[in-house]
């Protein structure tokens, strides 16, 4: 009972999630700058050093960065699990993740074993710490409902991804170690994209889509079985990478069908929403779901040799998944989470300074980040995605795509930064009331 009581308390300090959120656009800008500098060569194949550096800047520096910050924030509300000493663990986790991501990108570009060893220690430490914090919170959840169950599967997916990633890094750091790079990379990629990113997003969406858009709930059977089914299909897929037998396309087809089915279901729910206001969060979700359907179709077509594995277009499913699906959803969520947290923490400050009551009212969510500026960033994001995909067919478009992505991350960073600055100035105003 005591832990349940504790976990109903409100949020951890604002600085805990905010440091993750404000760092993410910087890594996005770094990834875009790298695409701009390297130009069309960068996406020639998934094995080129620049492609690997860029992918990890994006997946760790942007996506995982925001997801970690959001989970430190949302774990108490979403699963009722209290995170102990959030400022300490959040700070360490953030520092290690940021440093490790930079080290890993440098390592791919220089191929220096020392850089890989740095990345290994920093990222290994930061992500292991995060898995322990997340896993511990999920195990202590006072009541196990579908979201807790689903997030446990996602935490398992993250653990497998990190384990495989560390094994691959070991092979770079000490060349004498026998690491089966090609099959392990395939597994690392599949577990990272589906076992961690897709699972976490779907589980969070069961809660936030009905809440924020006032849609009907996702069906019970989907919430109950989808995470376990994806996990099982991934395990099957992993086995079929080791042993070839007829029908080894089946798990891939199953995973693609699960992703596309989930995305279609989400679009149908969104079409039934009771709120008639089309906010930017809704635009990001719709774009994300459309991209996920396209990613699934491309992945299936790729299995039948369309397009040929050697062509740049073979990267289409991964790009659609990461920049189209995952980034859209994560980006859209930031426009809900950050303005609300600024409002909530200012409200709490007013509670601590009774003299400010009646004198200062915290700015509402739309005054924290103005909707037109968020919409402008959505347009940059959508244009960047379109150019990037077109760039796979016409590589001359990749540099313009990089410029647009850079602008999109810069505007996202600016929008979040102005929210943080507003918090500071309003908090100072409240404190000045005595």
């Amino acid at each position: 009972m005591t832990s349940a009581a504790l976990s109903l308390e409100q949020a951890p300090p604002l600085s805990v999630p905010l440091r993750f959120f404000l760092t993410a656009p910087l890594f996005g800008m770094a990834a875009a700058a790298m695409l701009l500098l390297a130009g069309p060569d960068v996406l020639l194949s998934r094995w080129s050093p620049a492609t690997l550096a860029l992918t990890h800047l994006f997946v760790l520096g942007v996506l995982t960065m925001v997801m970690c910050g959001a989970l430190f924030q949302m774990l108490p509300v979403l699963v009722g699990a209290h995170v102990r000493r959030p400022r300490l663990w959040g700070g360490i986790c953030h520092g290690l993740l940021a440093g490790g991501t930079a080290a890993l990108a440098a390592a791919f570009l220089t191929t220096a074993p020392l850089a890989f060893r740095c990345a290994l220690m920093l990222l290994g430490g930061g992500l292991a710490l995060f898995v322990v914090v997340l896993g511990g919170g999920l195990l202590r959840a006072p009541r196990v409902h579908d979201s807790v169950r689903g997030m446990r599967w996602a935490a398992g997916g993250l653990a497998v991804t990190v384990g495989l990633g560390l094994a691959l890094t070991l092979g770079h750091a000490w060349a004498s170690l026998p690491i089966l790079r090609v099959p392990l990379t395939d597994l690392h990629l599949s577990w990272g994209l589906l076992g961690w990113v897709a699972l976490l997003i779907t589980v969070v969406s069961w809660q936030v889509i009905p809440m924020f858009q006032m849609t009907p709930e996702y069906p019970r059977w989907l919430r109950r079985w989808m995470p376990a089914a994806i996990f099982a299909l991934l395990a099957w897929f992993s086995l079929s990478a080791a042993v070839t037998w007829p029908g080894s396309s089946l798990p891939l087809a199953g995973l693609a069908a699960a992703c596309a089915g989930y995305a279609v279901w989400t679009l149908v729910l969104l079409a039934q929403r009771r709120r008639t206001i089309g906010d930017v969060n809704l635009w990001f979700w719709r774009l994300g779901m459309a991209a996920l359907i396209a990613a699934a179709l491309f992945a299936l077509a790729g299995r039948f040799g369309l397009p040929p594995a050697a062509s740049r277009l073979a990267l289409a499913p991964a790009l659609l998944f990461l920049a189209g699906f995952a980034l859209s959803v994560v980006n859209g969520m930031l426009y809900k989470i950050v303005p609300f947290l600024v409002w909530l923490h200012l409200q709490q400050r007013i509670g601590e300074h009774p003299a400010a009551r009646g004198q200062v009212a915290p700015p509402n969510m739309r005054a924290v980040i103005r909707e037109p500026r968020a919409r402008a960033q959505w347009w940059l994001h959508a244009a960047g995605l379109t150019l990037l995909l077109a760039g796979l067919a016409a590589p001359v478009l990749l540099r313009p795509a990089a410029v647009v992505w850079f602008a999109s991350f810069a505007l996202l960073g600016y929008n979040l930064f102005t929210a943080a600055r507003l918090y500071r100035s309003e908090a100072a105003r409240i404190a000045a009331c005595g």
Binding site: A5, Q10, M214, I277, D279, W343, L344, N364, R366, A367
Partner: protein
């Protein structure tokens, strides 16, 4: 049982909220005022049910006065503060302020509801197992 009843109350308030917000979004001032009044009455009535019937019964049974119910009461106060601001925005005809406040209130309510539906209501169902029917009757009678 309490969980089901109270969750139904939450969805009912959501529905009324969406109507008020839609009217404001369509710049329909009179429609927004009447829909808002209906929403506000339903929400305040729901908060009263909890503060006057459910929480005291739970606190008396478990002896937990400073725990989860105290946090819920504090969030209720935050909701009332936003409701007051929304009312002033409507009175002044400022739809932008009203919609910004509505967005804020919705997130505040939804994260609050999630904590109640997932944690507090199941706790009350366990603590007040024998008297759920009577408690629901008393809440209805308010």
């Amino acid at each position: 049982m309490i969980t089901d009843f109270m969750t139904g109350e939450h969805r009912h308030c959501d529905q009324l909220f969406a109507l008020a917000e839609s009217a404001a979004n369509d710049d329909h001032l009179d429609g927004a005022r009447s829909a808002y009044a209906e929403f506000e009455a339903a929400l305040l009535g729901h908060l009263d049910m909890e503060e006057q019937v459910l929480f005291p019964a739970f606190e008396a049974r478990t002896g937990m006065n400073g725990g989860p119910t105290a946090v819920m009461r504090m969030e209720h106060e935050q909701m009332r503060a936003v409701l007051g601001q929304m009312q002033r925005a409507l009175a002044g005809g400022s739809m932008d302020d009203f919609l910004g406040l509505a967005e804020t209130l919705n997130v505040l309510i939804q994260q609050h509801n999630m904590k109640e539906e997932h944690m507090l209501y199941p706790m009350t169902d366990r603590a007040l197992a024998g008297e759920a029917g009577a408690i629901i009757e008393r809440m209805r009678a308010l």
